[in-house]
């Protein structure tokens, strides 16, 4: 049975590491940053809404609706991140298959 030479596996390993760094690491950094931004904005918005209730600018029912909306927004943000994670994984898997096939073809004498 034919086997790929060690140099081909080395090439695959190096290119796969570079691919993972570009497709997966970039996504993770962005997702963490987005989560922190969302939490910070929710904290300041909630304080602002409470001040508006105290000032009579919005009602308590309005406040409850805003909090409900913020919970839904958090879920929608999580769904977006889950989708973008799938895109990053798809990109990695497709890139990996390309690397392996290209390296295999290149090793054919």
């Amino acid at each position: 049975m034919a086997q790929l030479p060690p140099s081909t596996w080395q090439t695959i390993e190096q290119q796969t590491a570079a691919l993972a760094a570009s497709t997966l690491k970039g996504y993770t950094t962005q997702a963490v940053q987005d989560g922190q931004t969302f939490l910070a904005s929710t904290e300041s918005q909630t304080a602002g809404w409470l001040a508006q209730v105290a000032a009579g600018a919005i009602t308590q029912d309005n406040f409850a609706s805003l909090v409900r909306g913020q919970a839904s927004l958090a879920a929608m943000t999580a769904l977006k991140q889950a989708g973008l994670a799938q895109v990053a994984i798809d990109s990695f898997v497709n890139g990996f298959i390309s690397i392996v096939i290209s390296a295999a073809i290149a090793s054919i004498p």
Partner: protein
């Protein structure tokens, strides 16, 4: 038959099949993106009028609901698009504190306070941005060869 010559092209074809099979989420769709952007603009424009009487905008609300339904159904009909559909489900859920909830409050109260309308418009705008952001982040299909 020259097998060594055929082998690379066979592998390339196999690669294309494998690549096509490996997409777990729908690719970017320009029409879906535009429908979501249009729906956001129209929704926020109508929400801005919620300090006026609901009765005078009843037809506008009906028209907007139709536009939102069309955008939702379009995304629902796309394969591997469950996450985007779940986002629409939340946006249009009458108890989610977002679009439909807002119009129900407007209908019940007749008019809404300006500060509340402003707060809600910002929140609903961000909710639409999650749908638009996911669509924009999907893999763009390769341009077709002339």
């Amino acid at each position: 038959m020259n097998l060594p010559r055929l082998l690379p092209s066979g592998l390339a074809a196999l690669a294309l099949v494998l690549l096509a099979a490996c997409a777990s989420i729908s690719p970017y769709d320009q029409a879906a993106y535009e429908k979501a952007v249009d729906a956001k603009v129209d929704t926020l424009a109508l929400m801005a009028k919620a300090t006026e009487s609901y009765a005078s905008h009843q037809k506008d609300v009906d028209a907007l609901n139709l536009e939102l339904d069309k955008a939702y159904e379009y995304d629902k009909g796309r394969p591997n698009n469950a996450l985007t559909v779940q986002q629409w489900d939340l946006l249009l859920d009458p108890h989610s504190g977002l679009v439909v909830d807002f119009f129900q409050e407007w209908q019940a109260d007749g008019t809404l306070k300006p500060a509340y309308v402003a707060d809600k418009r910002a929140q609903v705008g961000s909710a639409f941005d999650q749908i638009i952001g996911l669509e924009a982040g999907k893999t763009k299909p390769s341009p077709t060869q002339p």
